[in-house]
Structures are given as structure tokens and as C-alpha cells.
Symmetry: C2
Subunit: 380 residues, 2 copies
């Protein structure tokens, strides 16, 4: 009896499994194979706000936005929400243009710089053509490339980070995150100019963290037709919640990108509130210099404890405990101590974690914890 | 002397023209040919708010959003803007789910329904495969198809509108705007079910105007694995400025779409404010029924004047003056009288204009003007 029952249950299993496969197959035939086999971009964990974590996993700014944002938020007329936003975000582009000395025609706004990167890939790379980048880098370039059906040419970079390989020459777009994420190092503008001159491709410098760096590549837009600079207000302006990214480049390229973007890609509230934030450059400068000061102080202290920290030009650092390959353990131990960082299970990134620079007080707490847990990750 | 000068200037012309061509060529090699030759989606004119137009060109709702949106807007903490929004808009999906009786896993939110349509095309159609729709329809399907590099199979529909052709059977996605835009007619749910059953493709019912219609196809999601319903809060909830669209479909298809969307595609403010609006269903019902009443009254009055109006189930109508092919003249004459409508220079649409239903008072003014100008567009 027992044996028979088992036989039946096996049959049922295989029946259900065949049925399930068929069901799955039915759905799968609707889905592009490259999407079905793709993992998708994994954003940093957004913890329950009632749980008291020190949240250093998404490179958010620890300080509030400019008080002008508060004023404009209070003055907004809710009745206006019934109307579509300006499809071309003209006021914002004019403000950004006068801030940096460009015409609004050289600027496009997007729903975060993710939207801008998405628009870039769809404007300049034909499905089947190639796009390139160095790795480690911002993981979204690869995801967007897979979705768009382009070939991906990824070149590994390793230390010393100031000697990058030659960019590949058969790509349509090359993405350079500078300062790099998630490691934080930055190439000099003169090195970037050399790369951009050599390559026969649209050369995208993703400057999401530029406000925290010594240099930026904006001036190259005036010299080279193929350079596009991508920026965001998420980090430096403390406005990640609003979703506003922008690109600055040759106006002929920007004009084509404007055709590719979704018709109304930036909300009415985002346009108004970011405009207010852009007017308060003094607040931005103070905010950014506090973060840079904390970064430099934290880096020095962590190094004194025995952690390795590659000099960062962003609003985060990439601390590595003395023992190699212990990034995941380091991440988990910090997590258990209510410090949220980010670990990447990828080549070249397994030795450490990416850690946003929070307030001085938060980073003092982090240092205290890092001192306490250090023996678990020491070579001795 | 004169002749010589002319010769020189001709030479200079051709020199500059060659130079210009070379310059243009330099940029063009960066741009995908399908983008360079594309016109892009043209949004309705957003007039200077100081100019007193009756704005009936973008299907915006003439009434403000629910007062609850105002309350939540006042309570928002500007400090929270420093944090990224929930990447998967979970609260909104839960609210929409309990409103319509679906699991949050069957729902995806986007930056307007434009974003949702963009995600659909990139999830289900491989570049080189085909997508289909009837025309006239929402022009964005074609634009998104060109950008994604798919073949487009467009079938013309004409009167009588209740007898559509068979959808093509070699497409990966079929888009049906129901109620139709820009004409306003609607197919019955039973007819839609027939089409969706016949076709071996993802069948998208774009219900941007469903709240103004007698029927909707939401129930089909429970019966057919290939049906995806697309909705927006732009029109019915008076929230075009916030950009929130959503799709409801089989959770296996929605899961793949979630991988394709930009990581943080809906702003923090949009998530909070739309959640508030969704809670006020009574306001929605009253708002929508006022617009339907005005639409029915206006349609009857315009018909009594001598205009032709195809019965509409949306928040707009498509009035046609007695003389055929006079849509553009009708548009211009209304424009000169400070009434903004939309004209489409396309097959099947040249006889009239698309006109949003405004307030009763606005539509009374429009009727008055339509009566005065009628002799210009009469056959007599």
C-alpha cells in the first residue's frame, strides 16, 4: 500500500509539474527572453521608518533640503495639480542653464537620472549595437542595456584606479560614472577629456556625485560634441524623493533626446520645488562642505582603526576590513548593529561595503561600532 | 562686378552648405536613424496662464482634485524629500488593489500611463517583432514602437465604429484605447473579450477614460492571462500634474514589468497625494458625473445646432461642423475666440476637433461661439 501510494504521489507530482510548466510556458511566451532571464535593478532596502536604523545604504543626504523648498511647498495650490506639467521643464532648464552657463537647448530634464540614462540609451544605441562601461560601476547601465537589446562591453577596472584601460572603440555609447559608484574614486577631467576624444561614441559622464568632487567635466561639453554630462538633485540637494535628473550636452544631441523622453516626464511639483532649491546655492555649498568634512574626518579615523578606505570624492566611502573577502560579514554585522550599508556580491567589491556619509554624529556612532567589531575581521 | 560678387556669394553658400552638412553628419552618426527621422510626440499646447483661454485641448479635468489632496499637501514634511520614494509604490498598489479587488502583485504604478505603456512595450516586444493597434488612436503607441525598434501594424477603423476589424494575429502586443481617443467611442466589454481571446498577444486595454464610460474591462483580468488594463489618475481624479498611471494584469506579467521599470519611477509626493485622492471615492463619483452630465447636454445642444457629434464615453467630444474636411478651420476659428481644442491632421480626423468637456459655464460659452461661427462651416 505504502509503495503504491508513493507511486501515485509521484505521478501526481509529475502531473502537477507538467501542468505548472505548461502554465509557466503560457506566460513565458508573452515575455521577452532577455527580460525573463534578467534579475532587474535591486534598489537599496528602504527600512520601516519606525525601526531606528542609521540608514547609509542609498547615498541619501542626511540634511533636509533648502528651507526654500519648504516655503514653496506651503504655497503650492493643490488646484493646479489638475493641469499637465510643462512637458519640456523649461523653467528648470533655464535655471540650470544660467547656473552653469549653458543654453536651455543644451539641457534636458528627466524623472531622476535613471530616466535620463534610459533616454540616452534609446536615443543613441540601436538594438544589436554595443554600449560600454568599466566595472564596477552603477549597475543600471547594464540593466538598461539588456532591456534595450544592445550588446554590452564591460571592462574591469582595478587598482590602481588612476590607470583605467582604453575604452572599447566599437561602442555607440560609453558610460563613465565619475566619481565612481560604488567605490568613490574619481578620474581627473584631463583624463576624461582624453578618453572622450579617443572614442567614436557618445561619451556619457554620469556625475551623480560631482558636487562632492574636486573636479567635474562640464567644461568638456563646450569642447566636444560627443560628451553628455548627467546630473541629479537627489544627493547634493537632498531631493531624492522628488526624482529630478538632467543632462547637459550638445544641443543637437539634446534635441533628439527630447523626442525620446516620455511626453510629461517631470511632475508639476518636482518642477516647482527643484526650481526653488536651485535658487539656494549658498545652502547647497554649506550642505555639501559639511558632508565632505565628515567624509575626510571619517576616512582618516577609519584608516587609523585599521580599515582600508580608497579616497572618495562622493558622499559615500567604501571601507574594507583588514581580512579580504569579508564584505558580506562586515555588512551583516553592521546590519545587526542597526547600521544599514550596501554590499555587492561582485568581482572587485567583495572586500567591503558602500557606506553613505551621514551626519557627524551618525558617523561617530558608526566608528564606535567599527572599532568594537574590528577583531572579527582582523588577520590576527 | 555685380556678377562676380554673385559668383563669390554662391561659392560661399556652397562652402557653408558643405560645412554645415559635414557638421550635421558628425552629429547624425551618433543618433539612431529611426530617432533622427521621427517627429516625436507633440503634447497639447500649454498656453500662458495669464492669457484667458478656455483650455479644452489636453483632456484635463475642469474641477480641482479632492480636498483631501489639499490636506495631505499641507501636512507633508519637506524634510522627507531627502529620502528615495518607495521603489515599488506598495501603499498605492494596496489601495488600488482593495478598491478594485486585486492583489498588489497584479498592479504596477508608473510615472503617468505613458511610463506604463513604455514599460509594456519593453517587457513584451523584442525589437524587430510587431505591435499592433487600430487607428485613429493615442499617438504615443506608435512613437514608443518606433523608439523600441518594433514593426508597427496599424489597422484603420472607420464608421460604423461598433464593427472593428479583426486584430492582426502576428503581433506581440495589441493596444486598444477604450474609450477611444481622440474620437471618444467605446467598444463593449464583450467585444473586447472576443478580441482578447482570439489574439495570441498581450492585449492592452488603455482605459485612460474608463471612469467616464458605461463599461470597463477590469473583469477580463480575472479570466484572461493576456489582458492588461492601463489606467491613470490624470483625468478622472484631476491629477494630471502628479503623473500617476497604473496597470492591472496577471501577476506573472506584472512581475516582469516591475523588472523593466526605472527603479524609483514614482515620486514620493505623487505616492502620498494619489493615496489621499483614492480614499475619496465619493468626490470622484460626483466629479465624474458632473462631467458626464455636461458632456451629454453639450452633445445634444451641439447636435441641435447642426454639428455632428459621435457619442462619446470619455471626458471629451469630437464635434464636426457640417462641411467635411474643415476641422483645421474650425480649430483656428475657435482658437481666435480663445477656445483651445486639438486638431489632428490625420486620416479620419480632418473633419473635426477634439474638445475636452470643461465646466458647464465654459461649455455654454463654447456653444454660443459655435452657434455664431456655424455659417462659416455650413454646406449652404
Amino acid at each position: 500500500m505504502k509503495i503504491r501510494q508513493r507511486a501515485i504521489s509521484l505521478d501526481l507530482n509529475s502531473f502537477f509539474s507538467a501542468f505548472f510548466d505548461k502554465e509557466v510556458q503560457k506566460y513565458m511566451e508573452y515575455i521577452r527572453p532577455c527580460i525573463a532571464s534578467m534579475k532587474g535593478y535591486v534598489p537599496g532596502l528602504q527600512p520601516d521608518p519606525n525601526q531606528k536604523y542609521i540608514k547609509l545604504n542609498s547615498n541619501e543626504n542626511p540634511f533636509p533640503p533648502s528651507p526654500r523648498v519648504k516655503e514653496v511647498l506651503r504655497e503650492l495650490k493643490y488646484e493646479d495639480l489638475r493641469i499637465y506639467p510643462d512637458p519640456i521643464s523649461l523653467e528648470l532648464r533655464e535655471k540650470l542653464g544660467s547656473l552653469y552657463g549653458f543654453s536651455p537647448n543644451q539641457i534636458i530634464c528627466g524623472n531622476g537620472s535613471d530616466d535620463i540614462l534610459n533616454i540616452i540609451i534609446r536615443t543613441f544605441a540601436q538594438p544589436g549595437e554595443a554600449v560600454g562601461f568599466f566595472e564596477p560601476t552603477f549597475p543600471l547601465y547594464r540593466v538598461l542595456g539588456v532591456i534595450h537589446g544592445v550588446r554590452i562591453i564591460s571592462l574591469p577596472v582595478d587598482e590602481p584606479y588612476d590607470q583605467p584601460p582604453l575604452p572599447p572603440d566599437d561602442v555607440k555609447i560609453f558610460f563613465l560614472a565619475n566619481p565612481n559608484s560604488p567605490v568613490g574614486f574619481a578620474y581627473s577631467t584631463s583624463r576624461i577629456a582624453e578618453m572622450a576624444r579617443e572614442i567614436k561614441a557618445v561619451f556619457v559622464v554620469d556625475e551623480a556625485y560631482a558636487e562632492f568632487a574636486r573636479e567635474n567635466a562640464l567644461a568638456l561639453v563646450r569642447q566636444l560634441a560627443n560628451v553628455i554630462i548627467v546630473r541629479t538633485v537627489s544627493k547634493s540637494y537632498s531631493l531624492a524623493g522628488l526624482r529630478l535628473g538632467y543632462a547637459i550636452g550638445n544641443e543637437k544631441l539634446i534635441a533628439e533626446m527630447l523626442k525620446v523622453k516620455d511626453p510629461f516626464n517631470v511632475t508639476l511639483l518636482t518642477q516647482s520645488l527643484v526650481a526653488a532649491a536651485l535658487e539656494d546655492q549658498e545652502y547647497l555649498r554649506n550642505n555639501v562642505s559639511r558632508i565632505i568634512d565628515t567624509r575626510e574626518w571619517f576616512s582618516k579615523e577609519a584608516a587609523a582603526l585599521g580599515y582600508r578606505i580608497i579616497p572618495s570624492e562622493a558622499n559615500f566611502v567604501f571601507p574594507q576590513p583588514p581580512q579580504k573577502g569579508r564584505g558580506i560579514g562586515f555588512y551583516k554585522t553592521l546590519f545587526n548593529r542597526k547600521i544599514l550599508t550596501r554590499h555587492y556580491d561582485e568581482e572587485g567589491l567583495r572586500d567591503g561595503v558602500r557606506m553613505t556619509i551621514g551626519t557627524r554624529q551618525e558617523m561617530a556612532t558608526v566608528l564606535k561600532v567599527m572599532k568594537e567589531i574590528l577583531p572579527q575581521f582582523s588577520n590576527k
